[in-house]
């Protein structure tokens, strides 16, 4: 059914259609509307049977989900940013134990300085946690990916994060086609756990493992992520057959045929990028886009195949590996055929919610196309402000807190769009 609906609400209603039996809620912007809406559906009786638990922290949220999943229940929670970091120990534990929890991550920057706006630092910090990570481009895809996520998670016994850009998607009212309960029930089978705490068949879960088997346990986690590389496109194909629209998959090419320059990105920024690519294509530039839906497992083969004709590439990435540069671009570089000598750029963009505009992207892509782009580029970096602070730090030992100094220098500009 078509609805004009907030992204968070669309996700909540879709999650409810997946019949989670235990949902843990802890508020953090910009995720909060999702668990609020799920809570409403539980309280009204629309989602039943379901235990909705207001926990005391994100660490508890993930831990309650672990317990519920180990007892054979379909478990769901949602978080963002600091909340994701606060539950990290339990995140690794959920994947290590092989529990198919599904979690929405409403992507948001990580402090300090505290910042509630969107980037991908939170989810990307968990790239090695053993969770599958799927990134939604639109609210429709965010909703659809949750249905696929439960199926994928339970088939492989691996937890899945569905990542959607905070505010940009979570708080945007858009047209979303919500499926019916019958459609979801037909697509998503009942959860049959591989391991469950059952007094009729007692098992020990979470035993101490030494060097004799630890590598093998980790290898099997990797193996199952590789299985996900096969399963994600299959599930997307089945989804299209069942629901009549494309969502998910490993990567999504756009105007990639004959493209000599390829732009890669994750999430909602792909929409803006596609607009810029359309304009450049109209101007005769051979440029295309490769959206990455599945960041973990990383679809290296699919990326290599899709970029076999590319001479240059740029990853527009909403995260920074401090002291190194790009996060996603490092994986892209590893995926490409070294014999092709394709020239790459990591463009760090949109940190802490800075708007990524068409004009800025066009300027960036022009430099990539003409071969003048630096390997590491900070989109719209305000260099005068940086230089001013560096001079200040050079001349004063007690130069004070950096973030506050920058704000003072900038004046009251609030959320300025370049």
């Amino acid at each position: 059914m078509l609805k004009q609906i907030e992204g968070s609400r669309a996700v909540a209603e879709t999650v409810a259609l997946c019949r989670p039996e235990v949902v843990c809620a802890y508020p953090i912007s910009p995720q909060t509307h999702i668990v609020e809406a799920v809570g409403e559906l539980v309280k009204s009786g629309a989602l039943a049977p379901c235990e909705y638990i207001n926990v005391e922290s994100e660490f508890a949220a993930m831990s309650v989900a672990i317990g519920a999943s180990a007892a054979g229940a379909r478990a769901y929670t949602a978080t963002a940013s600091q909340g994701l970091l606060f539950m990290v120990e339990a995140i690794y534990n959920a994947s290590g134990l092989g529990l198919p929890i599904v979690m929405t991550v409403a992507n948001r920057a990580i402090g300090a300085p505290i910042n509630i706006w969107n980037d991908h630092s939170d989810a990307l910090s968990q790239r090695d946690s053993g969770w599958i990570q799927l990134f939604a481009e639109t609210n429709q895809e965010a909703a659809d990916l949750h249905i696929q996520a439960f199926r994928l998670a339970e088939a492989l016994c691996l937890p899945v994060m569905v990542c959607m850009d905070g505010f940009i998607l979570t708080h945007a009212y858009e047209r979303v086609d919500l499926p019916t309960q019958q459609q979801v029930d037909a697509f998503l089978p009942r959860y049959e756990p591989r391991q469950v705490l059952d007094p009729l068949d007692p098992v020990t879960i979470g035993a101490m493992v030494g060097p004799e088997a630890f590598t093998e346990v980790r290898y099997l986690a990797h193996y199952r992520q590789e299985q996900a590389l096969e399963m994600i496109p299959e599930i997307a194909t089945n989804f299209t057959a069942a629901f009549g629209r494309d969502s998910g998959g490993l990567v999504r090419p756009y105007r990639l045929e004959d493209a000599e320059t390829v732009v890669l990105a994750l999430g909602s920024v792909l929409g803006t990028i596609k607009d810029v690519i359309d304009e450049m294509r109209d101007a005769g530039v051979k440029i295309g886009v490769l959206g990455i839906v599945s960041y973990r497992p990383f679809p290296a083969e699919a990326i290599r195949a899709a970029m076999s004709h590319a001479k240059r590439w740029v990853v527009v990435e909403k995260a920074l590996a401090v002291g190194m540069g790009g996060v996603v671009s490092t994986d892209v570089r590893m995926a490409l055929d070294p014999a092709l000598h394709q020239v790459g750029t990591a463009a760090i963009a949109g940190l802490g919610g800075r708007a990524i505009t068409k004009d800025s992207l066009r300027r960036l892509f022009d430099t990539v196309v003409d071969g003048t782009a630096e390997p590491l580029h900070f989109l719209d970096l305000n260099l005068p402000v940086v230089k001013h602070e560096l001079e200040r730090m050079g001349s004063l030992r007690r130069s004070g807190p950096i973030a506050e100094n920058l704000l003072k220098h900038l004046g009251a500009v609030a959320a300025r769009i370049a």
Partner: protein, 333 residues
């Protein structure tokens, strides 16, 4: 506490007369059909109070619920010594997740059972570090939501698994690896630490109790009673650690009994905010009798300077005796 007092004991134990009781009044451990939930072959040290306490507590819980029980376990000695992969000593469905989240894991287990319409009951267990320190947030959250979980803390008063470091349950003056017996105030600091049973009581949960391995009938009875209730329940069991306390393996029960009889560890039960029952002691013993056999307090007896510290510990015991009204000349203990 619904159990028949056993008066037939010899040499200060309560166990010998069990055989003289009618079958239905005997201990869980004397039952041939006991669960043996924590079976033999585990790697606990000789004389481990925690292994003893856990065995009695979990078997009692198993009997109370007809075996329909699952358990969550915090990281710690109990977890490590019971599950060296690929072996396990647990004869019940058992999960270990992390150090600080056993109460939340148990909440999830209970929620899943409820959502699935199952009657399966849930316990969680951990040491003092996992309970009073790193797991305290999750514990308090589980309490305040009144989740249907019995949490059992086996308190050996320090982080024994990592090599005897101080926890918030370590008593004042005790030597640990991080409160060495050095300097002007050797051992752990006075005026620190927290009383988690009383904090649990302040959550107004249905049942809170303390117990020790010196009175295993009392422990069994409290676990049995706790499992007859629903909601958040907490039992805090003092379990001496020969390794960490520097006591003889064969003295575990004796030391636990002295903790009670000196007043240093008050044994009580209650619920909904109030203390409703206290295990009385016939006559208080001086704290020296409890402290002296323990190497963690040896620095108090090296010279005369320890006397003032011992007096401060005696004051703590006296305060407990007054607070809980522990003395009763007609008491069984």
């Amino acid at each position: 506490m619904g159990y028949t007092p056993v008066k037939f004991y010899q040499t200060g134990t309560h166990t010998i007369g069990n055989r003289l009781l009618p079958a239905d009044a005997r201990t869980v451990q004397s039952d041939d059909d006991r669960a043996n939930a924590l079976s033999c072959g585990h790697r606990a040290c000789q004389g481990c109070g925690e292994a003893l306490g856990a065995r009695y507590a979990v078997d009692a819980a198993m009997r109370a619920v007809g075996g329909d029980l699952v358990a969550a376990n915090a990281t710690g000695c109990l977890e490590v010594f019971s599950t060296p992969y690929p072996e396990t000593s647990w004869q019940i469905p058992w999960i270990h997740s992390l150090f600080g989240n056993a109460p939340a894991i148990a909440t999830g287990l209970a929620a899943a059972m409820k959502a699935k319409g199952k009657a399966t009951r849930v316990i969680a267990q951990g040491g003092d570090g996992g309970t009073t320190d790193i797991g305290f947030g999750c514990l308090s959250g589980m309490f305040e939501r009144n989740d249907d979980v019995l949490y059992i803390c086996y308190d050996n008063e320090a982080y024994m698994n990592t090599g005897v470091q101080r926890s918030s349950a370590t008593p004042p003056a005790a030597r640990t690896a991080t409160t060495p017996a050095l300097g002007a105030a050797p051992g752990n600091v006075f005026g620190q630490g927290k009383d988690v049973p009383r904090i649990a009581l302040a959550h107004e949960i249905p049942y809170v109790a303390t117990a020790t391995v010196a009175n295993l009938r009392d422990l069994e009875a409290k676990v049995t009673h706790a499992m007859s209730l629903h909601g958040a329940r907490y039992i805090h069991v003092l379990v001496p650690c020969p390794l960490g306390w520097g006591t003889a393996s064969h003295d575990t029960i004796k030391i636990a009994r002295l903790a009670v009889e000196t007043g240093l560890f008050p044994v009580f039960e209650g619920g909904n905010g109030d203390v409703t029952g206290v295990l009385k002691i016939r006559a208080k013993r001086p704290v020296e009798e409890y402290l002296k056999p323990q190497k963690r307090f040896a620095h108090l007896f090296k010279d005369a300077t320890g006397a003032a510290t011992i007096a401060r510990l005696q004051a703590i015991a006296d305060r407990n005796i007054a607070r809980y009204g522990l003395i009763d000349p007609a008491a069984e203990v």
